[in-house]
Symmetry: C2
Subunit: 193 residues, 2 copies
C-alpha cells in the first residue's frame, strides 16, 4: 500500500526521529535505530536527509513552527492578558498530547547544532518567553500581578509545561483533561494577586 495522497515518507521519518530523540536524546538515538523504526536501512534514510545534525535542525524548525501555529497565532488576538496567557498555557499543553509539540523539548539538544543554527532556534524560544513576559507586563498595569521577576517567572511557567513531556505517560494515573486544568490553574495562581 503506497501512501495515497502523497503524504510524504519524509514526514514519517522526521516524526519518528523526533519521538525517538525525545525518549533517548539526540546522541542516544542512532541512525540504525531510526532506520529500523521506520522499516528501512540506514542507506535508504540518507536518500531523505542530508545528515543527522541537519535532521535535528529541521525537526527543531518544525517544532517551533508548530508552536507558532498551534499556540501563538490562535492567541495573538486575545485582548485580555489574563485570558490570553491562560489560553496559551492551555493550547501548549493540549499540543503536547495532540500535535508534535513535545518535540520542542529537543531544543535542549541545540548544543549539537552549528552555532548559527542554534542561535536561530534560541531566538524563537526567547520570542515565546517574551510573549509570556508581555502578558505579565499588561497584567501588572491592571494591578492584577503579584510582585515578581518576569524573566524568572516566564521560565518557571514554561518549565511546568514542557516538563510534562518528560514525566507524563498515559498510565500516569491522571487524565489529560485533569492535567491540562491543573497546569493552567497552578501557573495562574502563582502569578495573580
Amino acid at each position: 500500500m503506497p501512501t495515497p495522497e502523497g503524504r510524504a515518507r519524509n514526514e514519517e521519518i522526521y516524526h519518528t526521529a523526533a519521538r525517538l530523540m525525545v525518549q533517548r536524546g539526540y546522541a542516544g538515538t542512532s541512525m540504525g535505530d531510526l532506520a529500523k523504526a521506520v522499516g528501512m536501512t540506514k542507506a535508504g534514510l540518507y536518500h531523505h536527509i542530508s545528515s543527522k545534525q541537519d535532521m535535528l535542525f529541521q525537526i527543531l524548525l518544525y517544532a517551533m513552527d508548530e508552536l507558532e501555529e498551534k499556540v501563538i497565532e490562535p492567541t495573538g488576538g486575545i485582548a485580555d492578558p489574563e485570558e490570553r496567557l491562560r489560553e496559551m498555557i492551555r493550547l501548549h499543553v493540549c499540543g503536547l498530547f495532540e500535535h508534535g509539540l513535545e518535540f520542542s523539548l529537543l531544543f535542549q539538544e541545540r548544543r549539537h547544532l552549528d552555532s548559527d543554527q542554534s542561535e536561530l532556534i534560541w531566538k524563537k524560544v526567547d520570542q515565546y518567553l517574551g510573549l509570556i513576559r508581555k502578558a505579565m507586563r499588561e497584567l501588572k498595569k491592571q494591578g492584577k500581578l503579584r510582585e515578581l521577576d518576569p524573566d524568572v517567572t516566564a521560565r518557571h511557567i514554561l518549565q511546568t509545561i514542557t516538563g510534562i513531556a518528560r514525566w507524563y505517560s498515559d498510565d500516569a494515573g491522571v487524565s489529560q483533561r485533569r492535567l491540562l486544568e491543573q497546569t493552567v490553574n497552578f501557573n495562574m495562581a502563582a502569578i495573580l494577586k
Copy 2:
C-alpha cells in the same frame, strides 16, 4: 603538586563527569571527553571507575544522598507544613548553586542503567515527591491549600526547581538570591489559598 589531604582524585572525576553529563547528556559525553577534562587518558580513568554505566549509577547515588543530607534531613523536624515546604524549596535551590544538587537532573538518564539500579533511583525520587505531597496533605487539613491534584502539583514544583539547572547561568541577569526568593514565592503562591 599532589593533592595534600588525600582529597581523592576519584571525587574530581565523578564531579567532572556529572558536570559534563548535565550539559551534554550521558550518551553525548564520551570517556575521551571526560579524560581530557580531568587531564588524563582514557586508560588512566579506568583505574578509578569500572565502567561508564557504573559511573552514572554512582553519580546518581551521590546526588540522591546529597538531596537527603542537604534538603530532606534539615527540614524533617519542621512541624508547620507551610514552613517545611518553603524551606525544602529554599534549600534545594540553594543546593543547586553550592553543592552538587544539579546532578539530580541526571535521574532522567536512568534509562541507561540496569533495571534494578534504575528502580532504586526512581524509588528515591518518588520518596522526595512524596514529601512534597505530604506537606500538601497537611496544608489541606489546615484549610490553607487550594483545590489541586497532589501528584501533578508535586511534579510541577519539582520541575520549577530542577529546571533552574537547565537554564540558569551566572550571566543570566538574575542574582542567585533573587532567583531563590522568586522560586519559593512562585510555588507557594501557586498552592496556597
